[in-house]
């Protein structure tokens, strides 16, 4: 009996130790490594965006995912999606009807921006800041926004309100290396016919709601095979 109690106690210690250890956060870890693999696969598509004080990953058709260098910077988005507004305007978008707290329509450039503020965390860097380190800081400090999408074998960063940027865990096997995911509802409310947004796919996607209930929701998707 004594032996068994010792075994139980040891097992508990091991499990607790492992559980408390960050190495057990395999989603976060693989998210970092896969994002690094993505960044290394398309180094020319990742540039520092001075205006937004972050790095931007650009798709072959110009959509951008921006992540901040330091979330404590005033007036700069922590995370941002930027894409061409014209297909939405053609599909009936009245930009003034988009929620102002998250959506920006830039008339001059015909760009739509969806941004989010996650907090005022000051990121630490070992040397010169790099896009990968910046991303790793996001995973470590704002782990909740990073997730795994099992059906597509994708990792994703959630900007909130159903908008996401996703990338493949394995670029070699996945035909959708990156995906821009938009919640169509604000656009629909702003007059967009989601089926008529050129270049975007209007589709049903299964997700878990906040209670963990699996639900199917409408999304506007723009996937890319970048390799």
């Amino acid at each position: 009996m004594k032996k068994r109690i010792i075994i139980i106690a040891l097992a508990l210690v091991v499990v607790f130790t492992l559980s408390a250890c960050q190495t057990t956060d395999v989603v976060g870890n693989v998210a970092k490594s896969s994002f690094e693999a993505l960044a290394k696969a398309i180094p020319e598509k990742i540039v520092f965006d001075e205006v937004n004080n972050g790095w931007a990953l650009e798709s072959p058709t110009g959509e951008r995912f921006v992540w901040g260098k330091d979330f404590s910077a005033e007036g700069k988005p922590d995370l941002m999606l930027e894409f061409d507004a014209r297909p939405f305007l053609t599909a009936g978008l009245d930009p003034s009807k988009l929620p102002a707290d998250m959506y920006i329509y830039e008339n001059e450039s015909d760009k739509l921006k969806i941004y989010t503020e996650l907090g005022n965390t000051t990121f630490k860097y070992k040397g010169e800041p790099t896009p990968i380190e910046a991303f790793n800081n996001i995973v470590e400090n704002h782990r909740a926004v990073v997730g795994y999408h099992e059906k597509l074998d994708h990792y994703g960063v959630a900007l909130g309100n159903g908008n996401m940027f996703e990338w493949a865990k394995d670029l070699a096997t996945n035909d959708k290396d990156i995906v821009f995911v938009l919640n169509p509802q604000p656009f629909i409310d702003a007059g967009v016919d989601p089926t008529k947004v050129d270049g975007w796919v209007f589709a049903k996607v299964e997700i878990m709601d906040e209670k963990g209930k699996p639900i199917e929701v409408d999304k506007l998707l723009k996937p890319f095979n970048i390799r």
Binding site: S19, V27, A144
Partner: protein
């Protein structure tokens, strides 16, 4: 030839019982070996010259179980006076240990007590005490309170251990289930800490489950140690199925955990730790309930054992000395005061009282006891002080015999159990093959590994043969126990089973249908002798006769104050009568056939004889010097319950016959009185068995009910022999069922009890088979084949546990059996 009983420890299912039985049967010198899973006992008959007890134990040991000799031995705690140092203790240990029959003797100097384990068949307690005295110490009164009922303790410990294991398993399984399944029951809104969120932290999610399942596996470690050992020995049992099923679930889950740890998060859906946890917890619950219920099935025997008083007051040198019941010797004069229990069997030598024997016979009315009457140990002395001489002590008492009889019956197997035994023996390997084949078939058909694994686990878990193994013995235990409670001792499973098939019952007349104490009712004489002389001579001739009719004549003469005379010559003519010589006269007393055989004319009294016979009286012809002198008619009183019992039997669809040596007219008159269908009259004692045989040759299943020595062959010949009343030892020995009371209503009760027990066994077997025959295809995915659901292994475990519990619960329903009154 030697017969021994061993307690088998470590069996968990009927397959274990079968494996242990096989192991013993293989031994050279074994004639018969039966393992009863319910009683956990092995009865083995073997040639002691070719085989030793050690070899039997070794074979059981090799089969993976432990055999303990059924404790003929007793353990006593003897307080010792006079020890002064530890060396004294050693000296006593040595002295007592040397005695033949003493298994162990441990003397504790500090507590001044000796714990002695001994075989009472080889050595008496008084001898042990004498040895202690001889060694120079004083053995005091043994401490009854400290007597160890090892079996009871072991059972209680087993139940307690199982409960603790189940609690441990549940405490960890409930949160395990919560963690593992919570996300799937989103509508219940189970809050889970974010650090074990299935999608965000899948590895933590898996680790949390590992953490929770480890204690559950430890609680159920026995399934693995026993189960895998059994596989190794190529005799897989129920534990093997549980071990393989849950180990497969755990190993696959560990593999999934590894896959998660290297980034394949999809494997988070392939964790089955909770399946293993729930299966173990449910099986432990089933095992616990099974142990509790099994204990209840043997309550009857425990009740019987508890009847015996612990001490007796023995009169020695005119003094009353209270001694432990174990120390009472045959011949001791014992004093029993009102309200006390009679300690052993004996014969009243002084005093008058009434004794409540209901605990042994079921008879509620106290029985009057006077000097010369027999008293039975464990019965209660109601209202007077008596002194009696002990005639039977220890294992010879009626109570000890009853306990032995009931124990043997409970340990025996009914023929109906054979099928279950055969099936159980092959069940586990077959189930394993089915599980592998089903899983492979699904896998080859294109289903996933997880799907195939689910099939594999479900089949293994649902098909445990526990229920099958418990179906028959538990019902027999409760049935025979219930019988014993009501004064119906059924000698074995076979008797119990055959009784329900009985369609014809043959009752002996005298002492069975009638009270067996006939009285003289009519005396008819011819002109050669007067009434009193006839009665006096007849009584003289029958003096010393043990025949009830003869006794009636003697009593009749005594009543009339007639003095008997000495008989010069006496010869019995079995089944016909007697021939004597008195006062120079040759006398013949007997039935019509005897007179005809001797050429004595009966015409003078033929009409009278017919009249008496038609009234149910037995006419005894008396001839003096080869001339008919008269008839003495004797009639027996029909028991109150006879007609009612026969009516009950008719309602049960049973044909009732009566067998008697009486002439046909008398027999038919009695038969008419009680409603007998068929009369077998004028049957000689030696022909009773052949009459029974004749009925059997008509294709009938015959029970014979009788009480006398002369009934013994017929009792043995009948499919079921029922000895009634206190009866003779021979009758009880020959019978399959012994009725402790003389009440004929116990006959339909015994048959009904048999019917109820067999019905119960059939129900049990049906449910046990139904669970398995329905459960296996279901678990193998039959419904899924046609678009239906797949059986979750958790539900398979629940169904499996439920099957054993339901079978036991059903068997316990027999406890509600009510005897006919």
């Amino acid at each position: 030839m030697k017969t021994e009983t061993y307690k088998i420890i470590g069996m968990t299912c009927a397959a274990c019982a079968k494996a242990a039985e096989r192991a013993v049967r293989k031994l050279d010198g074994v004639i018969e070996a039966n393992v009863n899973y319910a009683t956990e006992k092995l009865n083995v008959q073997y040639d002691a010259e070719r085989l030793s007890s050690e070899a039997i134990k070794a074979a059981i040991d090799k089969a993976g179980y432990k055999a303990e000799e059924e404790l003929q031995s007793k353990e006593v705690n003897i307080p010792i006076e006079g020890m002064t140092c530890a060396a004294c203790a050693k000296a006593i240990e040595r002295t007592v240990g040397k005695l033949e029959g003493v298994e162990s003797a441990v003397v504790n100097f500090a507590t001044e007590k000796a714990v002695v384990k001994y075989d009472p068949k080889q050595v008496r307690l008084s001898e042990i005490k004498q040895a202690i005295s001889k060694a120079g110490y004083k053995a005091l009164e043994i401490d009854n309170a400290n007597k160890v009922d090892e079996d009871k303790k072991r059972k209680e410990k087993e139940i307690k251990t199982l409960l603790v294991k189940f609690i441990v398993a549940s405490v960890f399984t409930v949160p395990l289930l919560y963690v593992a399944m919570g996300a799937m029951f989103w509508w219940l809104r189970f809050p889970l800490p974010s650090w074990i969120d299935m999608m965000q932290y899948p590895l933590n999610f898996a680790y949390a489950q590992i953490f929770l399942v480890i204690p559950v596996i430890i609680a159920g470690y026995r399934f693995y140690t026993v189960g895998f050992k059994a596989i190794w020995r190529r005799s897989p049992n129920m534990d093997s199925l549980i071990a393989i099923g849950t180990a497969a679930a755990v190993l696959y889950s560990l593999y999934s955990t590894y896959m998660i740890s290297i980034g394949n998060f999809g494997y988070v859906e392939d964790l089955y730790f909770e399946t293993a946890g729930v299966i173990i917890a449910l099986i432990l619950l089933g095992k616990y309930l099974e142990a509790v219920s099994k204990g209840k099935t043997s309550e009857a025997i425990k009740k019987l054992m508890g009847l015996a008083p612990k001490t007796a007051i023995v009169i020695q040198d005119g003094k009353e000395i209270e001694i432990p019941i174990e120390e009472v010797e045959v011949g001791d004069i014992i004093l029993v005061k009102p309200g006390e229990k009679i300690p052993v069997d004996g014969e009243v030598v002084e005093g008058h009282t009434s004794v409540d024997e209901s605990m042994l016979t079921g008879e509620s009315i106290p029985v009057e006891k006077n000097a010369g009457d027999r008293v039975i140990g464990a019965s209660i002395n109601k209202n007077g002080s008596i002194k009696f001489k002990a005639t039977k002590v220890g294992s010879d008492t009626a109570l000890a015999q009853i306990i032995k009889l009931v124990e043997e019956a409970q340990g025996s197997k009914a023929p109906i159990a054979q099928m279950a035994d055969i099936v159980s023996g092959y069940f586990v390997p077959i189930v394993f093959v089915i599980a592998v084949v089903a899983a492979l078939a699904w896998f080859l058909s294109g289903e996933s590994t997880v799907f195939s694994l689910t099939i594999f686990i479900s089949v293994l878990v649902i098909a445990c043969p526990c229920a099958l193994g418990l179906a028959t013995p538990t019902a027999i235990m409760v049935g025979t126990g219930k019988g014993a409670e009501n004064g119906i001792l059924i000698k074995g499973g076979e008797a119990l089973e055959t009784t329900h098939k009985i369609n014809t019952i043959v009752f002996d007349k005298t002492g069975t249908i009638t009270e067996g104490k006939p009285e003289v009712t009519d005396i008819v004489t011819t002109n050669i002798i007067d009434r009193d002389t006839l009665l006096r001579l007849a009584a003289s001739a029958e003096k010393g006769s043990e025949h009830p009719l003869g006794e009636a004549i003697v009593r009749g003469a005594e009543k009339e104050g007639l003095e008997t005379v000495k008989v010069d010559r006496f010869s019995a003519i079995p089944g016909h009568g007697i021939e004597v010589s008195i006062e120079g006269k040759q006398m013949l007393l007997g039935n019509k056939k005897l007179m005809i055989d001797r050429g004595i004319g009966l015409q003078a009294l033929e009409a009278e004889s017919d009249r008496l016979a038609s009234e149910g009286k037995t006419p005894m012809y008396i001839a003096v010097n080869n001339e008919l002198a008269g008839i003495i008619a004797v009639a027996d009183v029909v028991k109150e319950s006879s007609a009612k019992a026969i009516e009950k039997l008719h309602k049960m669809g049973i044909e009732v016959a009566m067998i008697t040596g009486d002439n046909r007219r008398t027999a038919e008159a009695i038969a008419k009185q009680v409603g007998i269908d068929r009369v077998l009259a004028e049957v000689l004692p030696q022909d009773k068995a052949s009459e029974v045989k004749k009925l059997q040759s008509e294709g009938k299943k015959v029970a014979m009910v009788g009480d006398g020595i002369n009934d013994a062959p017929a009792l043995a010949q009948a499919d079921i022999g029922i000895a009634i009343g206190s009866g003779t030892d021979v009758a009880m020995e020959s019978a399959d069922i012994v009725l402790m009371r003389s009440d004929l209503m116990d006959v339909p009760t015994a048959i009904q009890l048999s019917k109820s027990t067999i019905r119960n066994i059939k129900q049990n077997l049906f449910w046990a088979f139904a669970y398995n025959t329905a459960g296996i295809p279901l678990a193998a995915g039959l419904l899924h084949l046609f678009g239906g659901p797949l059986l979750n292994p958790v539900f398979a475990a629940a169904a499996m546990s439920l099957s054993s519990v339901s079978v036991l619960t059903n068997a316990l329903r027999l406890k509600r059996f009510k005897p006919y009154k």
